[in-house]
């Protein structure tokens, strides 16, 4: 990869990206179609885990960063004052 | 009533007042030697007190003689003798210390010595 030029690099990255999206789609489909034995009403919903993963990740980041910005994060010499 | 109380407790009162005088002198006097004197007064009060309680009305000195019936109690005398020896040792040692202090600091005033 080190010897490839820029346009080739971009092409490979795009190719990989497409492959990744395809995999995601496949997983979502699998989650709909394989037989499941849920513990609760909600985790048996189709694509529950996929959606949970995406939303959970985004919400965690946003909520924590907000919390951090307005409250928890302090400059590094906070305790030395 | 009061007189009677004083009469009965005379030795106690004297010794207590001497004790207080000694303590007072040790606290109030700034001169180190006077403090030692205060200490001596204090211990003397204790000795006096012990001797006074050994006394018995009409008692003879505690030497065994055939015709005497009542002796004063000899034990407190022994105690006091010991006490005096101890007090002497203490006083002499304290005085030596005082000399040393005077040589080192040039004063015997406890306020001036300050870190005393």
């Amino acid at each position: 990869m080190r010897y490839l030029n820029n346009s080739e690099k971009k092409r490979i990255v795009r190719y990989r990206k497409h492959l990744f999206y395809l995999g995601l789609l496949l997983l979502a489909l699998l989650e709909i179609f394989i037989p499941r034995d849920p513990y609760f009403w909600f985790d048996g919903l189709p694509v529950f885990y996929s959606v949970f993963g995406l939303l959970g990740c985004i919400l965690t980041i946003i909520i924590c960063k907000t919390l951090g910005r307005y409250w928890l994060m302090k400059s590094e010499d906070y305790y030395e004052e | 009533m009061i007189l009677e109380f004083i009469a009965v407790n005379f030795p106690y009162l004297v010794s207590v007042s001497l004790l207080l005088v000694g303590l007072y002198a040790m606290i109030v006097r700034r001169n180190l030697i006077k403090k030692i004197m205060g200490l001596n007064i204090l211990s003397t009060s204790v000795f006096l007190y012990l001797i006074s309680v050994a006394y018995k009305e009409g008692g003879a000195p505690p030497i065994r003689v055939s015709e005497v019936e009542v002796y004063v109690n000899p034990l407190p005398h022994a105690l006091v003798l010991t006490g005096i020896v101890v007090a002497l040792a203490l006083t002499s040692f304290a005085l030596v210390l005082t000399i040393k202090i005077y040589k080192e600091y040039g004063t015997l005033d406890s306020d001036k010595l300050m870190d005393l």
Partner: protein, 625 residues
């Protein structure tokens, strides 16, 4: 004869073995360091299930060896960990860290096999004191502070525990370490003592405070033992205590939240310890056989992958001297093997199938599902999303990829790589062949981790998390900050306490001094010239009375004022005198450098008189009543 010598107490092997380390040098020392855990492991294999080494001391029964299926898994993993950690640290020349680490291992083993509260307390305290040097050896100011807070906080927890133990003994008449009956003050005291060890919020801040400050090799040891011993003692005493389910679930998410905003790589990992221990604590709280199994299995796996995870940044720290995410980047070119081995740990902690985290974590989550704890279930799944996001994606991304920070680096020493390799192998081995782990658990396991359903669900969850990360990856870059946590309270309290000792306490001591000096001084002033003192006193009294009764008359207020002024004059003179004396005292004190007591003998004598008087008064009052 052999059976009289073997088996030896595992703790004794390590603690006594640690004392030999300073005597050895060079290659011999290295061989010794890795052989001792092997010997201990063989010895452990020969331990039969029963109760050994019972000593009666001063009316108490001390049980040093309670070997059963609950304590053995912890024993195995601790010794394995000792081997891995020793191998990882083998290149260190000095002896101090090795000794501390081995005593830590020994004390942890002692705590695990302890059958009564006194010996348990003994080993827990020993753990505190042996782990602190691993922090102190970093030899920098922040590490020293963190080490101190670590010791003080654990001593605080230990004090509560000791109070709990003493109460427990007073109420029940024994010190046997077993399940505690709910209720009673000692229940809560002991629980808090254990929660401190397990780093359960709000008693967790010591962990994220201290572990990242440890030495590169020390943190590997630190990460493995204290919290897991905490989990073990919770299992012993509080299995099925409802409050733990919620504490555990909250703890699992809590760690993740802090990991998001953390910039220090090893502190991020420390928060993930809290998060992972949350799973175990929740498992303990559920208390079913499956949940307990899960908690123990997870502790077992956690020690392995967390050690691996700490070894990665530890190696980076060792090679580059940096640990902040904002200062790192682009290391994949120079440290590829480290990266790969670190990723094994990352995938394990994220519970990717085929890695060991999967076979243990899913057991706890399944137990939550089976018990119908919906909210707990959601929280635990959410925590695993966050774990994947940070440990497996953010941390390696910003350490090894992202922008190239242009740091000179090479692979770490061979022994570090070897240790990481073995750990990674164990992670994979257990992930692929979980039966070996399930066989040593205390209860029979009828849980099958590898079903199509579970695998697909897990992969879907994590893949979509990856998608989310990719979309927002620039948002979660490290920022050069630190995070407020509950350590704020005791850090501030500690500063306040030291301030208190330096200022008000000293001032109070000085005040006590001065008050007595002043009392004595006033007394002296009165005594030296009683007549004039009395005159002044009577004068002012008289003036006071006059002012009240005949205040209207012309000359009296003036007179009263005059006498009052005179009195105040006296007072102010005395105050001046006191100030002068005080200044003189301070000068003397500075000269004598604290060697000479600056209090006057007068005040000391006065104290004696005062005590005598007080005591006589006390007797009189008591007697008259």
């Amino acid at each position: 004869m052999i059976e009289h010598i073997f088996p030896v107490h595992p703790a004794a092997i390590f603690i006594l073995g640690a004392l030999v380390i300073p005597l050895l040098k060079g290659r011999l020392k290295q061989i010794y360091l890795v052989t001792l855990p092997v010997v201990a492991f063989v010895n452990l294999l020969y331990l039969p299930h029963s109760v050994f080494w019972v000593h009666h001391i001063g009316g108490f029964e001390l049980i040093f060896g309670r070997v059963d299926s609950m304590s053995l898994p912890f024993g195995y993993i601790f010794i394995i960990m000792a081997f891995l950690g020793a191998l990882y640290a083998i290149h260190l020349k000095g002896s101090g860290e090795h000794v501390a680490a081995f005593i830590l291992v020994g004390a942890s083993l002692g705590a695990v096999f302890a059958g009564d509260y006194i010996s348990l307390y003994l080993f827990l305290a020993m753990m505190t004191f042996s782990s602190a040097p691993l922090i102190f050896y970093r030899r920098r100011k922040s590490a020293t502070g963190a080490g101190f807070r670590y010791i003080m906080f654990h001593l605080f927890g230990g004090s509560l525990l000791l109070a709990g133990i003493v109460l427990h003994y007073t109420f029940t008449g024994h010190t046997h370490f077993g399940p505690l009956e709910s209720g009673g003050l000692y229940f809560y005291l002991v629980m808090i003592g254990f929660l401190v060890k397990a780093a359960v919020p709000p008693f967790h801040a010591w962990l994220s405070d201290a572990y990242p400050e440890g030495t590169a090799t020390g943190s590997v040891f630190l990460s493995a033992f204290t919290t897991k011993v905490g989990v073990y003692v919770l299992i012993r005493a509080f299995a099925g205590a409802d409050i733990l389910i919620w504490l555990g679930a909250i703890m699992a998410v809590y760690g993740v939240v802090y990991a998001v905003i953390e910039n220090d790589g090893r502190r991020l990992l420390a928060y993930h310890i809290i998060s992972q221990v949350g799973y175990m604590v929740a498992g303990v709280g559920m208390g079913t056989q499956m949940a307990i199994n899960g908690a123990i299995a997870h502790a077992f796996c956690h020690i392995l992958y967390k050690a691996l995870l700490f070894m990665g940044p530890g190696a980076v720290l060792y090679v580059t001297g940096k640990e902040k995410l904002t200062e790192l980047g682009g290391l994949y070119k120079t440290m590829p093997i480290t990266l790969i081995l670190f990723m094994v740990g990352g995938l394990s902690i994220s519970a990717v199938p085929l890695f060991n985290g999967f076979v243990s974590k899913s057991m706890i989550v399944a137990a939550a599902g089976l018990q119908g704890e919906a909210a707990v279930y959601i929280l635990l799944v959410l925590a695993s999303v966050g774990t994947f996001l940070h440990t497996c994606l953010k941390l390696p991304y910003y350490t090894f990829f992202a922008r190239d920070a242009g740091i000179e680096a090479q692979e770490p020493p061979r022994n570090m790589l070897m240790s990481m390799g073995i750990t990674a192998f164990l992670c994979l081995f257990i992930g692929i062949y979980p039966a070996i782990l399930y066989n040593i658990l205390p209860y029979p396991v009828d849980f099958v981790p590898y079903t199509i359903e579970k695998v697909v669900e897990k992969i879907a969850l994590l893949s979509f998390t990856f998608l989310g990360f990719w979309l927002l990856k620039d948002k979660i870059a490290g920022q050069p900050t630190i995070s407020l946590d509950t350590d704020w309270f005791y850090r501030k309290a500690g500063t306040a306490f030291m301030w208190f000792c330096r200022n008000p306490a000293l001032a109070f001591a000085g005040w006590v001094d001065m008050t007595f000096a002043r009392l004595a001084g006033g007394f002296l002033w009165f005594c030296r010239n009683p007549a004039s003192a009395l005159a002044t006193g009577v004068d002012s009294m008289f003036a006071f009375v006059v002012r009240i009764f005949v205040g209207r008359q012309r000359h009296s207020p003036l007179r009263a004022l005059k006498s009052v002024v005179g009195w105040m004059d006296r007072l102010s003179l005395a105050a001046e005198e006191a100030a002068k004396r005080r200044a003189q005292r301070e000068k003397m004190a500075a000269l004598a450098q604290g060697e000479v007591d600056v209090r006057g003998i007068d005040s000391a004598l006065f104290l004696v008189a005062l005590m005598l008087a007080l005591f006589l008064l006390y007797l009189a009052v008591k007697y008259l009543w």
